[in-house]
């Protein structure tokens, strides 16, 4: 367990304390690898937007997500936290079937969006992805103009036929992403010329331009400076009035600030789901506690 080793105190004066912590870590380790684990807390909600049951994800022979069951409510912001490599991104990418792009990836279990099985073999992923948008870790604007970046989604889905309507969608999306004032005079310049934070807001604008119901965000602020991060967090708060948002984050403060519920993942297993308030003050699972108190991660 390299994750645990990294947290060993180095001070020799604390040898005794170190021993007890080590014992505790061994216990935690065991708890994490226990085969018949059960997620603690409230996994389920009334009238869920997404309902995931017993999801298992494999990359080739290697399993990355184990028996995850979780509901995500309408217009709620749910944060997913956990150490690196614990399967947060993998789980998130199941929700809009982005894992389809990886040849060796296989998803089992049942994932329903408004009661519709999204892994049904007859389902077309194109309308699914229009309903479930995604913002990536690294801003990835297209090498096109700012205008075309935002207009791309509405165009391919044929949402508008007249140029004025398209202009309006572009403007409202950029306004909602809090970018309009900064770019309104240079809509024809390349999106790749913006700063990192602006690029990420452009990607958010691009996503909301197709009016999705759910927005998945995979560590959207990890490549940004604190000011740009604060800007995006405000934006998430505003967007949560109209969208269901699942956000993966490495920052516990961020999870605490933006989300209503928090899910803690550990080595591919969902350990605990609870109200954010509770997770960060009085978690039910000892691994959650170990993580939020900074003993590993």
């Amino acid at each position: 367990m390299t994750i645990l080793e990294a947290t060993n105190p180095v001070d020799t004066a604390e040898t005794a304390a170190k021993d007890t912590i080590k014992m505790k870590e061994a216990d935690l380790n065991e708890a994490a690898t226990e085969s018949d684990h059960k997620t603690v807390g409230d996994c389920f909600v009334e009238n869920p937007k997404f309902s995931v049951r017993d999801a298992n994800v494999y990359y080739g022979d290697k399993q990355a997500v184990f028996d995850v069951s979780l509901d995500i409510g309408e217009n709620e912001v749910i944060a997913m936290i956990g150490p690196s490599g614990c399967g947060k991104s993998t789980f998130l990418r199941c929700l809009n079937r982005m894992n389809d792009t990886i040849d060796i990836c296989r998803v089992e279990g049942k994932i329903e969006l408004d009661g519709m099985d999204i892994y049904d073999s007859r389902l077309d992923v194109v309308p699914l992805r229009a309903r479930v948008g995604m913002v990536f870790q690294k801003p990835n604007p297209f090498p096109k103009s700012i205008y075309d970046n935002v207009a791309y989604g509405p165009k391919i889905h044929g949402l508008v036929s007249r140029r004025v309507d398209l202009d309006e969608i572009v403007e409202t999306s950029l306004r909602r992403a809090g970018l309009w004032d900064e770019v309104k005079d240079r809509l024809n310049q390349p999106g790749t010329g913006l700063s990192g934070g602006q690029q990420q807001r452009l990607c958010i604008a691009r996503t909301i331009a197709v009016s999705p119901e759910v927005i998945l965000m995979d560590e959207p602020c990890s490549a940004l400076d604190p000011i740009a991060t604060a800007r995006i967090e405000e934006l998430i708060a505003e967007l949560s009035e109209n969208f269901t948002i699942c956000i993966v984050t490495h920052s516990m403060q961020q999870a605490a600030r933006v989300s209503k519920r928090t899910a803690y993942f550990h080595m591919g297993k969902l350990m605990e789901v609870n109200e954010t308030q509770k997770v960060f003050t009085n978690p039910d699972h000892e691994l959650t506690e170990a993580y939020i108190t900074g003993r590993f991660g």
């Binding site: 948008g133 297209f142 090498p143 791309y152 197709v210």
Partner: protein
């Protein structure tokens, strides 16, 4: 001493000198507190001593080899009988050639006395020269190596010195390519200027008729020749155009398939196959074009009754263009495949996550992002098509027809260069010189194309780095 032996001995000398220099630096280092108080690593002290020994020795060697034959010859000439010396340079040259034959034991019959003497003298002098050289080299090497050896001290900036010399060596190597190009361009340019003295440049550039006549001897009349290059360039462009018509769509589509659609298994078999296709010698494509495709096209055209409206020959631009296109497909597809693969996966993911279909992603995101690189690849392919000779020689013929009819025989610039320069001709005749003028034109055209292509490709690279 033979020169191989000399070089081998010098090499052994260098190794010894290296060891000496290195151990001296280490010995000196113990006085100042160990090897880490040396200015540079011991390796550099060894190398600096070698450089001290090698540079004068190599300069001497070079000069010696450049001049020793001339000196020996001058001495031998001095000792030839007076009547030969006075008979002039041509006579002396003839005698010297015969003397060389004697040395090589290939003289037929009984040589005159003075020649045998001269041969013996040359042999003697050559041996003397090489022994003298060896002695001088080793003397020089020991002197300069000792100077270097005793100059070593712990504060010496050995690394800087050695690195500067290595930088110089690298520079010289890169200069070789530049000077070779320059030399080729200059010689082509000079011969072309000679050509333009006898044929006006306007006639060459804008003339519509190409029929160079043979001038076997200098006194032959060449009045009936005409050197208008337009039919050649038209033929070249026609063939290049037809081949690009095949190569661009097929190559691009196969690149798109390989990069974005093919399963890993298919990709890993098809890619090497394409590369094998690129390795087939063009002469093989050539006889395929000449023996199979060209007659087929003619029969087809005649079958369709096209011969009532236009010339249909068994050597056609169409056959050559088709086969050349197939030949260029792997070139286009491998270049495009590289640039398409260089488009970051994150862009594809971004579009897919918006609900774009695979073909929308390819058409609207991947291709536009890769376009500059793809265009650069096309331009390189065009210059390949223009430069290709063998297929055209074999399947399109030599007739310089000015035509846009793809079923007719045409010829290209490169093919004409080949035909102009093969066979026995007076070297200074306009016909031969015309080849250089054509070469110059071709060089300018492909250079311009390559320049544009590289420029475009570079611009594309900047976009993602």
């Amino acid at each position: 001493m033979s020169s191989t032996l000399l070089l081998a001995l010098m090499f052994v000398g260098f190794i010894t000198i290296y060891k000496l220099g290195r151990s001296r630096s280490l010995a000196l280092a113990t006085n100042v507190g160990g090897a880490r108080y040396l200015n540079s690593l011991p390796f550099y002290y060894g190398m600096i001593t070698v450089l001290w020994a090698a540079i004068p020795a190599l300069i001497l060697l070079g000069l010696w080899y450049a001049f020793d034959d001339a000196v020996i010859q001058a001495i031998v000439v001095q000792h030839l009988p007076a009547e030969i010396r006075e008979a002039g340079n041509t006579e002396i040259g003839l005698v010297l050639n015969k003397v060389r034959l004697i040395i090589d034991n290939q003289f037929l019959g009984e040589p005159p006395e003075y020649m045998t003497v001269a041969a013996a003298e040359i042999n003697k002098l050559t041996t003397l020269s090489s022994n003298l050289l060896a002695a001088l080299i080793f003397l020089l090497m020991s002197v300069s190596a000792s100077v270097g050896y005793f100059r070593i001290h712990p504060q010496m900036k050995a690394r800087l010195f050695v690195e500067n010399w290595f930088k110089l060596a690298l520079l010289i190597c890169s200069m070789i390519a530049i000077f070779t190009t320059l030399g080729i361009v200059l010689s082509v340019l000079l011969e072309s200027i000679k050509f333009f003295r006898s044929v006006p440049i306007t006639e060459f550039l804008f003339g519509l008729e190409w029929s160079p006549q043979n001038a076997m001897r200098a006194d032959q009349v060449v009045g009936s020749s005409s050197f208008g290059a337009i039919p050649l360039f038209a033929g070249t462009l026609l063939i290049a155009f037809i081949s690009m018509l095949i190569a661009v769509p097929v190559g691009l589509m196969s690149a798109i398939y390989l990069a974005d659609y093919a399963p890993t298994k298919v990709r890993s078999t098809v890619k090497p196959l394409l590369e094998i296709l690129a390795g087939i010698p063009t002469v093989v494509y050539g006889f395929f074009a000449a023996l199979t495709v060209a007659p087929m096209i003619r029969d087809l055209a005649i079958g369709m009754g096209l011969d009532n409206y236009m010339t249909v020959t068994s050597e056609s631009a169409l056959a050559v263009g088709l086969i050349m296109g197939v030949m260029i497909v792997p070139f286009v597809s491998s270049l495009s495949d590289d640039v398409i693969n260089a488009v970051p996966q994150s862009l594809r993911d971004g579009a897919l996550a918006l609900g774009a279909t695979k073909s929308e992603v390819v058409k609207q995101v991947v291709i536009p992002a890769a376009l500059p690189g793809i265009v650069g690849g096309f331009l390189l392919a065009v210059s390949r098509a223009i430069g290709e000779t063998m297929i055209v020689v074999m399947a399109a013929g030599l007739a310089a027809n000015l035509t846009a009819n793809p079923l007719d025989a045409v010829t290209t610039v490169t093919v004409q260069i080949v035909t102009l320069l093969t066979g026995d001709q007076e070297f200074d005749s306009p016909k031969t010189l015309a080849a250089f003028a054509l070469g110059l034109m071709l060089f300018v055209v492909t250079l311009a194309l390559n320049y544009i292509a590289l420029h475009v490709v570079k611009k594309y690279r900047e976009q993602y780095e």
